[in-house]
């Protein structure tokens, strides 16, 4: 077991544990903090795959900007135990059964596929470097890039119209 593998397992355990804590913690602010921890460990995975640009963007945009927004919204909404809606016991049971079925299907599908014999190639490939990524983005993937620019433009127009009260 070399350093990369140790790091991989450490980050995976951290990401899964963080994700579990996001769902199970009672306090919404704690959930957000655990989500930040999850994002950081996923960024670590990106670095292991040599996707440096993606790792930095993930930290700046997701763990930084979006999580601050989340925190603001949660604090503005002032969530606490009394405002929390009561959950039906049967609903919980149904959710558990449905989730368990999905898990079973996933395990069955993954078990019989060839994907289990393939492992991710860590520390190889240089497509994740900013220089190569930029070149790809403006040559091979220029159409998706332009489509997303129109998408942002229309999202902005929609947000302005909805947000602007006469």
């Amino acid at each position: 077991m070399n350093v990369t593998q140790i790091l991989f397992w450490f980050l995976s355990v951290l990401a899964l544990f963080g994700a579990l804590m996001v769902v199970t913690s009672k306090n919404p602010v704690h959930s957000v903090l655990w989500l930040i921890a999850t994002f950081f460990s996923i960024s670590g995975h990106y670095i292991l795959l040599n996707a440096q640009f993606l790792a930095i963007v993930n930290i700046i945009v997701y763990a930084g900007a979006i999580m601050v927004l989340f925190l603001f919204v949660i604090m503005l909404m002032n969530l606490n135990k009394t405002t929390e809606p009561k959950k039906n016991r049967w609903l919980k049971l149904a959710g558990g059964v449905a989730g368990g079925c999905l898990l079973l299907v996933f395990i069955a599908a993954l078990k019989s596929s060839e994907i289990t014999q393939q492992t991710a190639e860590v520390k190889t490939g240089d497509i994740g470097l900013i220089k190569n990524l930029g070149r790809e983005l403006f040559s091979t993937y220029v159409v998706p890039f332009e489509i997303s620019s129109i998408l942002f433009l229309s999202a902005m127009v929609g947000a302005v119209v909805i947000g602007k009260k006469e």
Binding site: V105, F106, A108, A109, L110, S112, S113, E114, I115, T140, Y141, V142, V143, P144, I147, S148, I150, L151, L153, S154, A155, V157, G158, A159, V160, V161, I162, K165, E166
Partner: protein, 466 residues
């Protein structure tokens, strides 16, 4: 290279040009709605007419974008629908505070649909599906002072975000299982292993959300009821049509090796969609909710056509969507004229409409006859070809259920016609002065409903394209 690019991507470029023109008009000094709306209508008509010229077949950006005569024809159907909506909803649009923005959003959604139909890999498909959905959610909220409109927009954005999440999950699983996202390479790599089937089910679910196939239809009725009629008609005709086009082409071309899997899924979902759509349509009181469930049932019939898995299925679906554009837009158009002038949207208010507004009543009757599939109208031929295509597999039990559902649908369409023509009402809707633009739109729809069925060369033309 540049010439190829300009000619092949012409529909997208024209829509983008109109979109930015509207943006600059909005940024510059304001133009009154009375002059703005005819300008927009002319631009949309030009967009539709330009779709018939300078068409070529080809592939751009290493297969990421492709166009064929069939794709051009599908884009023309969508452009026609958008032009008709701009005519039919004149009353509401004139009162709107944000007219240029409304059409900017509508055109960016249309642009997304164009790219979606032409897409050659899953990345462009996903992005353009988003572009076709997110602006519509903003459009649903354009009645800014109504609470129900915000609710509709919220439901739409949440359900579409959920379905996008499922779609992305499916795409990532498919990429993990095959190692490619290109539509041309995928068929050779699909062997029906459990992981691929799971990925395919996720993709199918995303399509089902957009097409509002039962059991993924729960957002439909609330969104249609809450949003302005212009948006409801856009959702039910243009969105549904475009997703049906890309759905059938991915099933037939990309997922052909998994035919056994999706045939069974289609049969079960088609029956569920028709039955639930029909049963719920019977008990609706609001005309928009009624048309929502009727459109769910119509999607069920489209699935019957798709299940045939040969080129008659493709032909019949494109032909049916063309007819559906005319018939459903005529029904929404009448509802829009009445709602724009009187604000009434309940079916009970329509009682005795024939006494005061014979023209609107006849257009509505024609549209509903076409949706129900009664012979002189085009809807009959559309349904006939869909069911014939579905029957080509020899599964007669399935076709019997489809035929029974056709009878049920006849009941609730005729219920409205009875209210309009036969029921007595103390205070029927007053005589409505129809705006000339809306009248033109209703006449085009009415002519389309009759002519598309009678002129057989239209079906032959579509058949030659597929």
């Amino acid at each position: 290279m540049l010439k190829d690019f300009l000619i092949l991507m012409k529909p997208e470029l024209v829509v983008t040009a109109i979109l930015f023109l509207l943006l600059f008009i909005k940024i510059g000094k304001g133009i009154k709605n009375e002059t703005m709306l005819p300008l927009i209508q002319v631009l949309l008509l030009a967009n539709f007419l330009l779709g018939f010229f300078f068409n070529q077949q080809g592939v751009l950006f290493e297969g990421a974008y492709s166009t064929t005569p069939l794709i051009v024809f599908q884009k023309n159907i969508l452009s026609l629908g958008v032009y008709l909506i701009s005519l039919l909803c004149t009353d509401w649009l004139k009162k709107s505070q944000n007219l240029p923005e409304f059409f900017m959003l509508m055109l960016s959604a249309l642009l997304g649909m164009f790219f979606m139909i032409s897409s050659g890999n899953l990345l462009i498909f996903f992005l353009s599906l988003e572009l076709a959905t997110i602006p519509v959610a903003a459009m649903a909220n354009f009645d800014l002072d109504k609470k129900i409109a915000s609710e509709a927009a919220m439901k739409m954005i949440l359900s579409s975000a959920f379905s996008s999440g499922i779609l992305l999950f499916g795409i990532s699983l498919l990429y993990g299982a095959t190692g490619t996202i290109s539509f041309s390479e995928l068929p050779q790599l699909l062997d029906g292993s459990p992981l691929q089937v799971l990925a395919f089910v996720f993709l199918f679910t995303a399509f089902a959300f957009k097409l509002s196939i039962v059991p993924f239809h729960l957002w439909t009725a609330d969104v249609y009821e809450g949003s302005p009629i212009a948006v409801s008609s856009f959702l039910s005709v243009i969105s549904k049509g475009s997703v049906a086009f890309i759905f059938i082409s991915t099933l037939y071309k990309v997922f052909q090796p998994m035919h056994d899997v999706w045939y069974n899924m289609l049969v079960i979902l088609a029956i569920a969609t028709m039955v639930i759509g029909n049963l719920f349509a019977i008990r609706q009181q609001n005309i928009k909710r009624f048309l929502a469930f009727s459109s769910i049932a119509q999607v069920g019939f489209i699935l019957v056509g798709i299940s045939s898995n040969d080129h008659t299925g493709l032909t019949s679906v494109v032909y049916f969507v063309l007819i559906y554009v005319f018939s459903n837009l005529a029904a929404f158009g009448v509802a829009s004229v009445i709602s724009g002038q009187t604000g009434k949207e309940n079916i009970d208010d329509y009682k005795g409409l024939y006494k005061t507004n014979p023209f609107l009543s006849w257009v509505l009757a024609l549209a509903l006859f076409s949706l129900a599939g009664i012979p002189p109208t085009a809807g009959f031929f559309g349904k006939l070809f869909l069911v014939t295509a579905g029957a080509s597999n020899g599964s007669y039990g399935f076709i019997t259920v489809v035929a029974l559902n056709l009878i049920v649908s006849l009941y609730y369409y005729l219920r409205i016609i009875r209210a309009v023509f036969m029921d007595k009402n103390e205070q029927p809707i007053d005589k409505i002065k129809i705006n000339p633009a809306a009248k033109l739109g209703l006449l085009i729809c009415g002519a389309g409903i009759i002519l598309v069925g009678v002129l057989s060369w239209i079906y032959d033309y579509i058949n030659s394209l597929t």
